[in-house]
Structures are given as C-alpha cells and as structure tokens.
Subunit: 266 residues, 2 copies
Amino acid sequence: MSTPLTNVRSDRVKAVRALSRRSVRDKTGRFLAEGPQAVREAVTHHPAAVVDLYLTRDAATRHTDIVDVASAAGVHVHEVSDEVLAAMCETQAPQGLAAVCRVLTASLTEVLAARPRLLVLLTNVRDPGNAGTVIRGADAAGADAVLVSDASVDVYAPKVVRSTAGSLFHLPVVTGLAIDPTIAELRDAGIRLLAADGAGTVLLPECDLSSPHAWVMGNEAWGLEPETRSRCDEVVRVPIYGRAESLNLAMAATVCLYASASAQNH
Amino acid sequence: MSTPLTNVRSDRVKAVRALSRRSVRDKTGRFLAEGPQAVREAVTHHPAAVVDLYLTRDAATRHTDIVDVASAAGVHVHEVSDEVLAAMCETQAPQGLAAVCRVLTASLTEVLAARPRLLVLLTNVRDPGNAGTVIRGADAAGADAVLVSDASVDVYAPKVVRSTAGSLFHLPVVTGLAIDPTIAELRDAGIRLLAADGAGTVLLPECDLSSPHAWVMGNEAWGLEPETRSRCDEVVRVPIYGRAESLNLAMAATVCLYASASAQNH
C-alpha cells in the first residue's frame, strides 16, 4: 500500500460513492461491497471481479487475511482515512473496508448447463432486504442459483449486497431476466416450476420436492402475477398453523427452500 | 366521532408521540399500534386493550370494519387531520390510522397452565426487525407463546410492533423474563429446551420435535450465552447446505419453528 488517500473530495471518492446509484452501476458495470464479510467473500470466491480494495489502517491490521488474499489475487489495495471510507460508502459503519467489484456475470444458459436441482426465481421483488435475505437463504439451503426478473430490485444495490451477508459471491445470481422466456427455458430443461403463493392449493408438506425444481416468488405486497402463477406446475402454500395472515417473502422463501433441501439431502 | 383533531401541538399529540420512547411506555403501560393491519388485529383480538383509535377521514371511509369493531368494543374513536396523525406516529406512512393500546399482559404461569407444545424464548435479542419477525413466524407456525428475556428489545417498540404484522395480538408474548428462573420453570413443566445455535451438535432434521419444547434463541451477533446454552437439553443446528456462514436470527427461528409445526401437525 502507498500513501493513504485522505481527500474526501477527490474524483476517486466521488466515483466510488456514485456506485450507490443504479444508473452508475449499470453504466460502469461495477458495484461496491461494504464491510469485512462481503469483502472477504468477494476476494475469496471472485478475486478476478474485485478491482480496488479500500481500507483504513485499523482494518488492515485487523483483517490481514483479507489483505493477503486480495494482494495475492492482484487486487489494488489502498489505505484510506476513516473520512474517505465514510464518504465512499452508503453504510454508516462499513467497519473499515469496502471493495469496488465488477458485476458478476452469470447466465441462465450456464446455470442450466450445470443441471441444477434447486433454483429460485424472483419476480417483481422490490424490497432490498427481502431480496438479499432470499439470496442468503438460497445459499444456506444449497440452491444452485438465484434468478432475478428484470422488474425486480437491483441485486447490486448496497442494501441488497449487505443483506446477502456474502452469499452474493457464493452462488450464481442471474439478473435482468424476462419472465416468459425464462419460464420456457426452465421448463425445457425439465425443471418443475413451483409458485409459492398464499392462495396455493398444494400444502408445502404435501409437495413432492425430490425432483429438480424452481421456486417462483412474487412481489412482497401483491404476490405473483396471475399470468406467471398460471404458467407454474403447482401453486404451493406454506401452511399457517396459527392466526398470522402470512409469512413475509424472505421467511416464506426460506421455509420453502429448506423443505426442498431437506427432501433432496435426506 | 366528534370534531377532527387538527392541533399538532396539543398535549394529546405529544403524549401519543412520546410512546415511541421506551421510558414512556414503561411508565404509562401503553404503546402505539400503527397502520391498518396492526390496528385491525388489536381491535379484533384485544379490544379491551385498545384505549384510543385515531384515524383520518379518508381512513375512516376505507376501514369501516375497523371503526365498527372498535366502536362496538367501546374504544374512543377520534378523527384526526393527516398532520396530527403524522405527528403522533413514528412510521412515515401509517396509512391513516393508529391506536393507543394498553401493554398486553401475559404471564409465564398462564402460558404454562395452558400446556403449551411449542414455545420460543428470545434471549438478548436486540434488533427490532428480528424480534418482530420471530413473533410473526411463531404465530404462523402455531406456537403457543413467545417468551422474551429482560435483556431483549422492548416488543412494544414501534418497529417491533410493525414487523410482527399483527401477530403481537395473536399469541401471548411474555416479556421481562429473567433467563435462569424461566428455564427452571419450563423444565419443571416438562418442556424440552432446544438451543438453536450454529455450533450445535444435533442437526435440525435429526431432532425429535414431537414432544413439547421451547426454542431458545440468542443474540443476533454473538448467539447464545454459554451458560444458557449449557442449560438446554439439546443444542440444535440448522444445516447449511451451501456456502453461507449462517442464517439470520429470524430465518433460523422460522426454519426451526416450521420443523416443529410440521412434526407436531402431521
């Protein structure tokens, strides 16, 4: 590392900070991973995607493992002042480090070529926390990939990246998918489409989850579009045993994904 | 309803707004439920706990069901201006209504007298969203009650109430419990104590969940206190099938609770 960067008004700082805007991420093909968990998973699992690592002297001392892996991978490592890091990040407490990464490219074709057994397709999901938590849950449940429709939140938005807790770097996340052709491709690949919907007729514990399938999840508030739901093989409902009206999207997805993982692993 | 309340500086508005502070809730024994979902569940399931219902003219027109139930239960219904409602609430968009409620009193003795089969005990849980989501998940999974330690977040905080999505009014939530005597009481009542912990030795799918039990959950960041964990009958781990380090507290709780519900209901 060379001289620490201390000028909060530099073009570099402005360019990093601008990555909190979707238009800038779309134009540059870059995004910011903030905090030790996201940065560690980025340099460990996708070193080639990491362009610049920024960290305070204190963080460099605490996270020598991250610095070592990043340096070995040829990542540009920059020491920055606390003020510069704060000016770069959206998070109030990025714990001393952040990394500019290239958007991870994964295609549906590649995902399907690997003969997946468990997928999630998010359609019209708008809440960053929900999207990130579903990606984390999909990773935990051993899903092969997460597919995200073009009408959903940008998974490279800072809040989504944060809520994935590093999982964004663990499994392929395919973005910008048009729903209709995606459903057609999944079907052609022999993957059953299971709509998760509170109005479903099949109860989750009664659903056969042993063969390859994709959970199709809709918007937090209004659920799945009727056209999408009608193109699925089954409409599955997580049973409500008490008086709650529903589970939130991330909880429902996690329960469905764990039911799948349990059926496929035991 | 009489003349609309329009003075945002009135003592009444200040008193309602002050309920966003824990010290005021503790002193007055009251809290605020914001938005149609929470208010509807409050007047439906705990009408005697609802002291005052405040709503805009627009909300009164949209939610005649809520006004009817509240009026029939003898709740004081007040029409307020948009500005007054905004000044009363913490939420930016309470969708036109809020209700001042008495803190719901549920005791561990009452809960145990009803011979519960499924409980959750939250110890040192600090994040409002996590606590509320666990209460919602416990409700959905048909748990008999949620028990909350004295070192946890106040479940009557606006953000917790909001994240329960009405479930706070659906099942007994016992608060302010000291951990050690609570564990002793649960044990005396024949309830197995299952610590949910990423370092657990028993995998969730291998755990016998048919008999009455309580899931004991720890802090979001540091997990369960070693003393608490060691007093549990089993330390149970949600399997991680992928590369994720862990699930977040609310997801882990929901997966555990649904495994219990499935074992007890099928």
